[in-house]
């Protein structure tokens, strides 16, 4: 039934070699998979524990002394104080910039856990992995992040070996997966990416975030906080660009965007956007269903 994969823990190889299969599917999803010719062959998973030094001495994550020290390629915008020199504490410049090293570290952690999950799937001879669940949780207070991907490896009845030996993957399972196939889409892989944008507030942003100060006479009573709005838009845009780069002409279906903000100090924050979804490819021509007829349930 299975090949022995040298990189997997011994227990995993023993588990896959046993006669029983394991599955993370609910009973309805399990039944739906069998109905469409998908045979669960094993619960597969991949892990990766990552650490990256955000505040190392030479880390560009720290606030620098030059307004132009942050950018490492990618998105960057700078703002200049309109007041001239006021004091050493005055935020005479501000900057938004993409923290590509954080995005890369996240991608490395996710990608490694993903490839390990695929390795397990390949070890059980699966064509695909359905019902994928991914998490990235902090391990206690160690300051490290554990990426965990798991799903149910499946074989397609009477189908040839997977293309290029690479199983396909999807967050969907059961009825939703059946509808996707029926609608003419084949899942290719799960797609996920993180964007990270750092905001170093300049004086006007700081004043507006803390309540407009009319002392400076530069802003009306209320004003849009352009620097932060711009960073928020950029973070979402970058996450979409990263995922689009994984699409290679395919489509992203059932996307989910999760945004988190971390206040690192007054006027200094990080905006992180995680975008995930199913990369799908149309395998048959567009064939819209007829206009549905509405019904009212009487119970």
């Amino acid at each position: 039934m299975t090949e022995t994969a040298p990189d997997l823990p011994e227990a995993a190889n023993r588990r896959f070699a046993s006669q029983a299969f394991t599955s993370g599917l609910t009973v309805p999803d399990f039944a739906a998979c069998l109905q469409m010719g998908l045979e669960p062959v094993g619960y597969v998973q991949g892990f990766c524990v990552m650490q990256w030094g955000w505040y190392g001495l030479n880390s560009p994550y720290r606030r620098g002394i030059s307004p132009y020290s942050g950018g490492q390629g990618g998105y960057m915008e700078s703002w200049q104080c309109p007041h001239g020199f006021v004091s050493n504490e005055h935020r005479s410049w501000g900057q938004n910039y993409e923290q590509s090293w954080i995005e890369d570290a996240w991608g490395q952690g996710f990608g490694t856990a993903y490839s390990r999950m695929l390795e397990e799937a390949a070890a059980v001879g699966a064509h695909g992995v359905v019902g994928v669940v991914d998490t990235a949780d902090r391990l206690g207070d160690l300051g490290v992040l554990e990426f965990h991907l798991r799903g149910t490896a499946v074989k397609v009845t009477d189908a040839p070996a997977p293309a290029r030996g690479q199983p396909w993957t999807t967050y969907l399972a059961g009825q939703r997966l059946a509808k996707l196939i029926e609608a003419g889409y084949m899942p290719i892989s799960v797609a996920a990416a993180v964007s990270s944008v750092r905001v170093w507030a300049y004086c006007m942003t700081e004043f507006l975030l803390e309540g407009t100060s009319s002392t400076w006479g530069m802003q009306p009573a209320g004003a849009e906080i352009i620097q932060v709005a711009s960073a928020q838009m950029a973070a979402r845009q970058i996450a979409r660009e990263h995922v689009r780069a994984q699409m290679a002409g395919d489509s992203l279906h059932g996307a989910e965007l999760v945004v988190s903000e971390h206040q690192l100090s007054e006027g200094d924050q990080e905006i992180q956007c995680l975008l995930r979804g199913n990369r799908v490819r149309r395998f048959k021509d567009f064939d819209p269903m007829p206009v549905p007829h509405p019904t009212v349930r009487l119970s």
Partner: protein, 287 residues
Amino acid sequence: MSISGQLGDPPPTPVDIKAELRRAVGTLHDPQPSKMQSMTSDLSIDEELILHSVGWEPIELVCGVSLYSVPMGVWNWGQGEITSASAAYARAFEGAIDRIHRECAKAGGHGVVGVQVDRSIHRHHIDVTLLGTAVRPVGAKQVDAAHVFVSDLSARDFTLLHVSGWQPLGLAVGASFVYAPRRSIGVALQQKSQNVELTNFTEAMYAARESAMERMQSSAITMGGTGVVEVKVTEGPMDFARHAVGFAAWGTAVRLVAENHRPLKPSMVVPLDDPMTGFEATALRGN
């Protein structure tokens, strides 16, 4: 109301899902990617299919964000409406709507459906985030940002509106922030042992709710709408200033574009599925 095949219609040709799956898996051996246009969408497969059924398609995940400052000191005790906060709320929505309009138009969309509206009110700023999927009639040409609609209706509700001859026009929004009225010490002492209506409270809250609704309605009229559907109303004191109460209302402005409203005439159905879907051990205890 749910959507399903019409009772009495001839049953659709059953799809051999196993054969379809094998066909789909077979295409993975073809290194050529799909020739269809790439899209990104947060719609479910059901929503996408239902959009396709009325000739629309999703094209791009789009968003709009705006933060608008609230001047220092406006939450301090006062009388009547906190106009700076009400204005900041409106400006934050305008900024976010303007940005999602532009993203939608740039992607070639004619509108955005299923918009998630996230609002957060802080002491010194009000943040609004909108996220949804840009859609257009299949193969339609690009339109100007000014002609794009933004709607928090789901793709299913958009389809229902569409088939009944209505068109969404945009998000209609209204808000009003007020100070909870204060009583003089004399009045407070006088009323302490009475069962009495606090008319100043009633009137202030009543007026604020009506102001929020009126502003939402005015914004719908400005867009050319004749009504607002799926109105959400939120209200409550501010976490950081319990004496200040905010009322907000938003929904999708709509207008009839067909000559007459086309009734949907839904069929009545009695589902035969048993609501009891699982075995519960507690049922054995006779509770």
